[in-house]
Structures are given as structure tokens and as C-alpha cells.
């Protein structure tokens, strides 16, 4: 399709019927006259006239036939050219990227949209292997899949078990959707890929999933709040009534303080649902400079008693002079609590939870926090889902913990990832943007 459609109009032997017929007439006429001249020296002239008329008549007929033939041929040629130009125009102006690959995996043609999508100049892709458009780590897999495809070529969407990813010339990656079709040609099989950049669609999907999730949390929290607060109101008020009765009867102080504990804790329990509601309502709170090291020390205090009972040792390795991060103390503390709870639950009997902080290597403006456990680990099929909302593998889990954790980290401009080996343990890595020293000083000036 890259070749030029060449040739001026009327290049065939049939294109000048008049000239052809003239040649026929001259040769025929010559024969009609000369054949007798040789025998009888112009004596039979009228016979020559008859022959000439015959040649003239056939020449006219011949001319008409040839002219018709020329018209038909030229019309069909023009139609062919038109349709080729139309195909060419469709190809060039398509809103989708279009790439044609031959059976060796070399790009035969790519339209403007495809070049733009992948950041290449005009014609730069021609002759390149198709894998140039695939992220390095997926290239080998793509080659295999391509060979598989060629064994039984048919039109179908492309996928590597999950959504395909495109690689631009500058190395950046983006989600794409590809549908493949196979064309058999004289030069061998060609595979056409229609490619759509779905970055925007993905973002919209993410936004809508997020707001759906928030709405879901709101609904759950409302239900929980309502169902919990009624019994808690009864427990709390009855405990108070007992205390009032007890005071009259002179109940011993131990019983009185027990009742007071029941009453106080029923009030506390009701806050769980209330906080869940708050969480669904207003994710963003006031941010202040926070020392992650201090926050970890405080959070560990909450855990020490329980973990000692379970023969779990908490080790810390906190970097001195770690820069502070700007954030919401409650939200970040909750994130760490969630990670520690998970780590504790992952360890069946005895084990170690190791917490480290440091400035990210190569990123002096980033704080790296890791939480590592020697627990059961997370299996490969579970791992991609652990941050999903309401995803849980525990009988008493809510599927909220890690989702909330990741949301909190991302709201602080950070990221969280996880690596795990079944049987060996799990490591969560959190990066958070560090508060720069100068911004830190500004803050001190303002508050001081």
C-alpha cells in the first residue's frame, strides 16, 4: 500500500484504436491493390475496388469494437484506482491506529494515527519489528503469541491474559486495545492490527469505580452504624442504670468500675461506625509536617502487648535525620496500623515484623517505609487483588484495610507496592514525598 499508484491514463495497446485501425487499413489496402497488380498490371482495377471496400468496412467495424473495448477497460481501471485511493484515505484518516505486519513480524505499513500514538515520525516504523511497540519485558511473550497466532490466524481481539500495553518511542507505556485480522495476499499473509489508546477510558473507569467504591463504603457504614448503635445504646444506658442502682445499694467498687468500663467501651465501639462514615464522606483532612519515625514508634506501642503474647518480635531500623512528610497524622497512622495488623495475622505462631525507614536511594526527595514479615506470604493469584475494595481472604476480614491504606498513601502523593513469597513472607514498600528542608523552615517560621 506504500507503493505509488502509477501510470498515465491510456497506456495499453488498445488506447489508440484509430491508429491501430489505420495501420490495418493501410496494410489491408496495400494487399487489396498490390496482389492483383503483380499478376495483371492494373487490368482488373474494379476487383481491387471491391477488395478495398471490404477492407474499409472491416476497418470501421474493427474501429468500433476497439473503441468500445477501450471505454470499458478505462472505466474499470478508473474504478480500481478510485477504490485504492479510498482505501488509502480510510487508512490514513482512521481514528484508530492501523499497523500491518508481515509473517516475519516486520511492520509493512502504519497509518498516521499509529505513528502519532507511538510517537514516531512518518514512515519511521516501516521495516521495524512489531516488538518495537511492546514494552521490553513483554517482547519475548509477544513473539511467542505472534507465532501462535500465525498458526491459526483469525480475527480476534489481542490480549496477553490481561490488557495489552503499548510502548512509545520515548519508552513510556500506555494501555491499548488491539483487534487483529489476517489477510492472505500474493506476497504471503499479512496481519492487520487496529489499535486504540485507552488511557482516557481507563482514567474514567478508575474515577467511576472510585466513586462507586466510596458510595459503597458510605452505604455499608450507614448500615453498620445503624445496626451497631441501637444495641450499643442499650448496653451503654443499661450499664449506667446498673451503676445508679449499684450506688444506691452500695455495690463494691470493683463491680462499679467494671460497669464503668462496659459503658465507656460501648461508647468507643460506636465510634468505629462513625469513623467509617466519616471516611466515606471527607477523605481529605488538614496536612501538617509529620515525622514518620515518631509515628511508627507510637503505632508500635499499640501493638507491643498483643505481639508479645503471640511470640512475634517487632524490629525497627529507622534512619536518623529522616526528612518529615506533609500529611494527615490519623490517616497515615491508620495506614501503618493496617499493615502491622496484616503482618501479625500473616505470622501463624512466632516470627518477626521488620519496619525500616530511609531516604529512597536515588530519590532524595522521597521517604521509603517498608514493613516486612516472616509470615505465610501471599499466593500469586491473590497478590494482584489485595488492594481491591472488599477483597479479603480472611474469614473475619472486611476487605477495607489495604484499600484504605493505599488510598491514604496516594492521597499523600505516595505509592505502595508489595512483593511476597508464599512460605517466606511479605514486604510492603511505601514511598512518600519528603518535605524539603526549605519548606520545613518556612513552616517553622509560620508557626514560630
Amino acid at each position: 500500500m506504500a507503493s505509488k499508484s502509477g501510470g498515465s491514463s491510456g497506456s495499453g495497446w488498445y488506447s489508440k484504436p484509430f491508429r491501430l485501425v489505420l495501420i490495418y487499413f493501410l496494410v489491408g489496402g496495400l494487399w487489396a491493390v498490390v496482389s492483383d497488380v503483380v499478376e495483371v498490371n492494373f487490368a482488373l482495377f474494379p476487383v481491387a475496388i471491391d477488395r478495398l471496400i471490404f477492407v474499409a468496412m472491416t476497418a470501421v467495424l474493427f474501429y468500433i469494437v476497439l473503441r468500445e473495448y477501450r471505454i470499458v477497460i478505462e472505466q474499470s481501471r478508473a474504478a480500481e484506482r478510485d477504490s485504492a485511493a479510498r482505501v488509502r484515505a480510510y487508512f490514513a484518516s482512521a481514528a484508530e491506529g492501523l499497523i500491518v505486519v508481515d509473517s516475519r513480524g516486520l511492520i509493512v505499513d502504519a497509518n498516521a494515527k499509529a505513528e502519532e500514538m507511538f510517537g514516531y515520525r512518518e514512515l519511521e516504523l516501516i521495516g521495524q519489528p512489531i516488538e518495537i511497540l511492546v514494552p521490553e519485558r513483554l517482547r519475548e511473550k509477544h513473539r511467542r503469541e505472534r507465532r501462535e497466532y500465525l498458526k491459526t490466524p483469525r480475527s480476534r481481539p489481542m490480549g496477553f491474559g490481561r490488557d495489552p500495553i503499548g510502548r512509545r518511542k520515548d519508552g513510556t507505556e500506555f494501555p491499548i486495545e488491539v483487534s487483529l485480522s489476517h489477510i492472505g495476499t500474493k506476497q504471503g499473509g499479512l496481519v492487520t492490527g487496529f489499535i486504540t489508546d485507552i488511557t482516557e477510558r481507563r482514567n474514567l473507569e478508575f474515577q467511576s469505580r472510585r466513586s462507586e467504591a466510596m458510595a459503597a463504603i458510605g452505604t455499608v457504614a450507614a448500615g453498620v452504624a445503624h445496626e451497631l448503635n441501637n444495641p450499643l445504646a442499650i448496653i451503654s444506658a443499661r450499664a449506667e442504670l446498673m451503676m445508679a442502682e449499684g450506688a444506691k445499694l452500695g455495690l463494691n467498687s470493683q463491680l462499679m468500675s467494671d460497669l464503668e468500663v462496659i459503658q465507656r467501651n460501648s461508647q468507643r465501639a460506636s465510634r468505629v461506625a462513625t469513623e467509617l462514615l466519616t471516611l466515606a464522606r471527607q477523605p481529605q483532612k488538614a496536612h501538617r509536617p509529620i515525622s514518620i519515625n515518631d509515628l511508627i514508634a507510637e503505632t508500635i506501642l499499640l501493638f507491643r502487648e498483643q505481639t508479645m503474647r503471640d511470640e512475634i518480635r517487632i524490629e525497627t531500623q529507622l534512619a536518623d535525620s529522616l526528612p518529615e512528610v506533609m500529611g494527615d497524622r490519623t490517616a497515615l497512622s491508620q495506614a501503618i496500623v493496617n499493615l502491622l495488623s496484616n503482618a501479625r495475622e500473616a505470622i501463624s505462631r512466632a516470627g518477626v515484623i521488620r519496619i525500616t525507614t530511609q531516604v529512597s536511594t536515588g530519590h532524595p526527595d522521597e521517604v521509603l517505609l517498608t514493613v516486612e514479615d516472616t509470615g505465610t506470604g501471599i499466593s500469586e493469584d491473590v497478590l494482584p487483588h489485595i488492594f481491591d475494595l472488599f477483597y479479603t481472604t480472611k474469614s473475619t476480614g472486611t476487605g477495607l484495610g489495604l484499600w484504605i491504606t493505599r488510598r491514604a498513601i496516594r492521597e499523600h502523593g505516595g505509592e505502595i507496592d508489595v512483593t511476597s513469597k508464599p512460605g517466606a513472607g511479605t514486604i510492603f514498600r511505601i514511598t512518600l514525598p519528603a518535605l524539603s528542608r526549605s519548606a520545613d523552615a518556612d513552616e517553622t517560621l509560620k508557626t514560630g
Binding site: N229, S236, A237, R238, L241, S266
Partner: protein
């Protein structure tokens, strides 16, 4: 103070708890467990005060409040809710509740609310 208080909630235990607290103040307590029952009682018993939950079977606390405020009744209403939202609090305040209690409440919050509602309605 000889007074009659209607307590409305679908939780029997909670109604009993509230009744004990209110009787502790020297009032007579009558009980209803859903919307229609409460409205029937308003007309049959003419209570001096209504203490009602917001979420009720077959109706809600605000419907009861509107019936209680109809002339010539003008009965003060205390609204309780286990599911507090700013919207519900706003609706309750717009409707003119005497007090708005979030469950779980402290007993003194309840008795305080009952006392002041009865005091205002008498004066």
C-alpha cells in the same frame, strides 16, 4: 411532675431502657414500636412528650413529629438516631425538634432532654 411520655422505637430493649429512665423522673411511660402504632397512641393517649427513633418500621420519626405538632396537639418531640448524618440533623432541626440525641447517648443526656422539653412545653 405528673406527665405522660410516649417512647417509640422498634427495639424493645431500648424502649424499656428509656422507659426506666423516664419513670425515674416520675413520669408515666407509654410505648409504641412502629409509626402507625405511635400515631394511634398520640390521638388516644394525648402524651405530653414524645421520644422517638428516626428510623421506624412503616414510617419515620419526622412523620410522627409532624402529626404531634398538628394543632391543637402541639406535643414536643425528642428525636433519637443511630445513624447520624448532618442531613438528618438539619431536617430534625428544621422540623422543630426539642432535642436530637445520637445513639448511644449517655443517660444524663436523655434525662436532661426530657426535663427541658417538658419544662418548655409547660411554660
Amino acid at each position: 411532675m405528673p406527665c405522660k411520655v410516649l417512647v417509640v422505637d422498634d427495639e424493645l430493649d431500648l424502649v424499656d431502657t428509656c422507659a426506666r429512665l423516664i419513670e425515674g423522673l416520675g413520669c408515666v411511660c407509654i410505648k409504641a414500636f412502629d409509626g402507625p402504632e405511635a400515631i394511634a397512641m398520640i390521638h388516644a393517649e394525648h402524651p405530653d412528650l414524645i421520644l422517638t427513633d428516626f428510623n421506624l418500621p412503616h414510617g419515620d420519626g419526622l412523620q410522627i413529629l409532624r402529626r404531634a405538632h398538628e394543632k391543637p396537639l402541639a406535643i414536643p418531640v425528642i428525636l433519637m438516631t443511630g445513624y447520624h448524618t448532618p442531613e438528618i440533623a438539619q431536617a430534625a432541626s428544621d422540623a422543630g425538634v426539642s432535642a436530637y440525641l445520637r445513639k448511644p447517648f449517655l443517660t444524663r443526656e436523655l434525662t436532661q432532654a426530657v426535663r427541658s422539653a417538658l419544662h418548655f412545653s409547660k411554660s
